[in-house]
């Protein structure tokens, strides 16, 4: 049975250092939630507290409404996949997977034949049946990761905790395993918490993302919410690249670049206080939302044009700020941009975060007067 996990105001200090600061989050039964955050933000610490390997100084961890803090980790019904696998090095693959069943108290332990059948089924699930008799040292990283997963699933956990399960693998393998995990999760509907510091992985796999920074939860939401409505510059910049453009708001919510006076964007909620003329703003713009148009009187100067896969990456200098724009490769020829050429720069979509008054971003679009060719 899948568990509903509820974390309430959990704090953890190591000496004077606060690793977790009043963290609260809910994981509905059957969801796959990604715990995302930079190194040292407290992801592992939180995971260990949920598993019972570490203890919060204050706060509660509820699974299906029951407080688990006082419970022994052995009784929590948690499957844990360690970042560095932590496979039992002196046991075969099959031995590793069988362990959780073999150590059950006599009354609850399945018979030898049942254990064997379950192990075989689990190894089939992770597509490793043919490696049952190997030792962990004789497996590749991706295979070890799948053994670790099968071992954790063997005890039919209420909750699956995965600590950067694909951290040590190359991009291709991690993509494959990620997709495979997503499908597995879809079939088995185990509540899962996946730690990662790879934003792409989180955006692709998770039902919801919890973004952490310095021991605090920055934002919780669906991948789309976090990407399109970030609560802070930190969230925005953590989920993909972004340019910062320093500008001044003019009449009608028109944003002009500080220094050149070029109009690059327009506020789409002009009723907002920021629309008041003369106010300084920092616009956050994703590279693919930065549009360039070759023009002899343009204020931006192209510094470099590089081809990166399906996109061309164009660096421009605008009023001493270096900005990066991405454009589909097939559109590059029609832009007529080379190193040194001048261009007009327009923000198709951008955001700013007013400092006064917490929360919420202001949305910007291209100036009304602008029509792209």
């Amino acid at each position: 049975m899948a568990g509903h996990v509820s974390i309430r105001d959990v704090s953890r200090r190591f000496g004077a250092f606060t690793a977790l600061d009043a963290v609260s989050l809910d994981i509905p039964a059957g969801e796959l939630v990604a715990l995302l955050g930079p190194s040292g933000s407290g992801k592992t610490t939180l995971l260990r507290i949920i598993a019972g390997l570490d203890f919060p100084d204050t706060g509660q961890v509820l699974i299906n409404g029951e407080d688990n803090v006082a419970r022994h980790p052995r009784e929590r019904g948690v499957g844990f996949v360690f970042q560095h696998y932590a496979l039992f090095r002196h046991m075969t693959v099959a031995g590793n997977v069988a362990f959780g069943l073999q150590v059950r108290p006599r009354g609850l332990r399945p018979s030898k034949a049942e254990i064997k059948a379950r192990v075989a089924a689990l190894l089939d699930l992770v597509q490793l049946g043919w490696l049952a008799d190997r030792y962990p040292s004789e497996l590749s990283g991706g295979q070890r990761q799948r053994v670790a997963l099968a071992r954790a699933l063997a005890i039919e956990p209420r909750l699956l905790l995965l600590d950067e399960p694909f951290g040590a693998l190359d991009t291709k393998v991690r993509k494959e395993l990620g997709q495979w995990l997503r499908n597995l999760h879809h079939d088995q509907a185990i509540t899962s918490l996946l730690v990662t510091h790879d934003q792409e992985e989180a955006l692709e796999l998770a039902d919801r993302i919890v973004l952490m920074s310095q021991g605090r939860v920055e934002q919780i939401g669906t991948p789309a919410e976090l990407y399109t409505k970030p609560a802070s510059p930190f969230v925005l910049e953590f989920l993909g690249e972004a340019n910062r453009i320093a500008g001044v708001v003019g009449e009608g919510g028109l944003v002009r670049v500080a220094g050149t006076g070029d109009a690059v964007a327009q506020s789409i909620d002009p009723g907002h206080a920021l629309a008041a003329a003369g106010q300084a703003v920092t616009l956050y713009v994703r590279p693919h939302d930065l549009l360039l148009e070759a023009r002899a009187d343009g204020a931006a100067v192209v510094r470099s044009v590089k081809v990166a896969g399906a996109f061309a990456k164009i660096e421009v200098v605008l009023a001493d700020q270096v900005l990066t724009a991405l454009t589909p490769l097939h559109r590059l020829p029609s832009l007529h941009l080379q190193e040194g050429s001048r261009a007009r720069l327009v923000v198709a979509q951008g955001m700013s975060f007013p400092t006064q008054g917490a929360g919420g971003s202001l949305q910007f679009a291209a100036p009304r007067s602008f029509a792209m060719a």
């Binding site: 598993a51 019972g52 390997l53 980790p73 052995r74 929590r76 948690v78 499957g79 844990f80 360690f82 560095h84 696998y85 932590a86 496979l87 039992f88 090095r89 002196h90 362990f99 959780g100 150590v103 059950r104 030792y135 962990p136 040292s137 497996l139 070890r144 071992r151 954790a152 063997a154 005890i155």
Partner: protein
């Protein structure tokens, strides 16, 4: 690179190399091989029957028996202390940890005779605990308990010194995984911790056992050399030799030498196991 001697050395080194090799060989033969051969030659100087007679002498048999008892008790204590102590020292950080680690090396650095004297000063009749022990009719010095304590003292660090770095290197991930999979502390210990440490443990046990059986100085001071009562094999060798029983002395010595040889072979085998295992397992860790 390392396997091949430098070109220059190989070319012009004909004479120099031969000289160095010869010197090394001469030293080996003179100081290692010859004494060993002598031990066995002397032991069998009056034939197999003389050898057997020497070994089956009641005093010698009692010395062998006593050595086995002392070594066995020391072994058990060493394993238990080695596991518990290294667990505490490797897994936890607490005030005084460094001090304990330093004191742990004391038996390596203190001369065994001094160690024996310390025990006499503590447990002997004139010692600190002497009156109390006497009042309770407990005899430690010049008796088996003293010899066991002395042996434990000189062999205590072997197992722990072997296990601490091993435990630190291996970490506690596997133990944590075992607990989360539902294992009890006991199951975790026997099914994960012990197998993980087995080569290091065996190696430490082997070394401490060789030391226990061969120990002379500390045991000699606390035993009082009472023939047939508090004589271990090492003490017996000297007692027999001092009494001009050359064959008897060397017969017992040959037993000790055999033990040393067996230990050496076992150690080499274990080291090889240990090395290949740990490099293999490192990859999987």
């Amino acid at each position: 690179m390392a396997k091949r001697p430098a070109v220059g050395l190989r070319r012009q080194g004909g004479v120099a190399n031969v000289i160095m090799i010869v010197v090394a060989l001469v030293f080996m033969v003179l100081f290692l091989l010859l004494p060993l051969v002598t031990v066995f030659a002397q032991a069998f100087a009056s034939g197999l029957s003389g050898y057997i007679a020497s070994i089956t002498d009641p005093n010698t048999l009692s010395a062998i028996w006593l050595t086995l008892i002392v070594a066995a008790v020391a072994l058990v204590v060493n394993v238990v202390f080695g596991l518990a102590g290294s667990w505490a020292l490797a897994r936890f950080r607490f005030p005084g940890r460094l001090a304990i680690l330093t004191v742990l090396d004391l038996p390596f650095s203190v001369s065994p005779v001094v160690a024996g004297l310390m025990l006499v000063l503590l447990y002997g009749r004139q010692g600190w605990l002497g009156p109390w022990l006497e009042a309770h009719n407990l005899k430690i010095i010049f008796a088996l308990p003293g010899m066991i304590i002395a042996t434990i003292f000189v062999t205590l660090p072997f197992v722990a010194r072997e296990l601490i770095p091993l435990m630190e290197e291996q970490g506690a991930d596997e133990e944590e995984a075992a607990i989360l999979l539902g294992a009890s502390g006991w199951q975790m210990f026997w099914r994960i911790t012990i197998p993980k440490l087995r080569w290091g443990l065996l190696y430490g046990v082997l070394l401490s056992n060789a030391r226990a059986m061969g120990e002379f100085g500390a045991v000699s001071v606390v035993s009082g050399n009472i023939l047939g009562l508090t004589d271990t094999m090492s003490l017996d060798v000297k007692a027999l030799y001092d009494g001009y029983n050359i064959v008897g002395s060397f017969a017992v010595a040959s037993l000790l030498a055999s033990l040393a040889l067996v230990t050496l072979v076992a150690k080499t085998v274990l080291e090889r196991q240990f090395l290949t295992r740990s490099t293999k397992e490192e990859v999987s860790a």
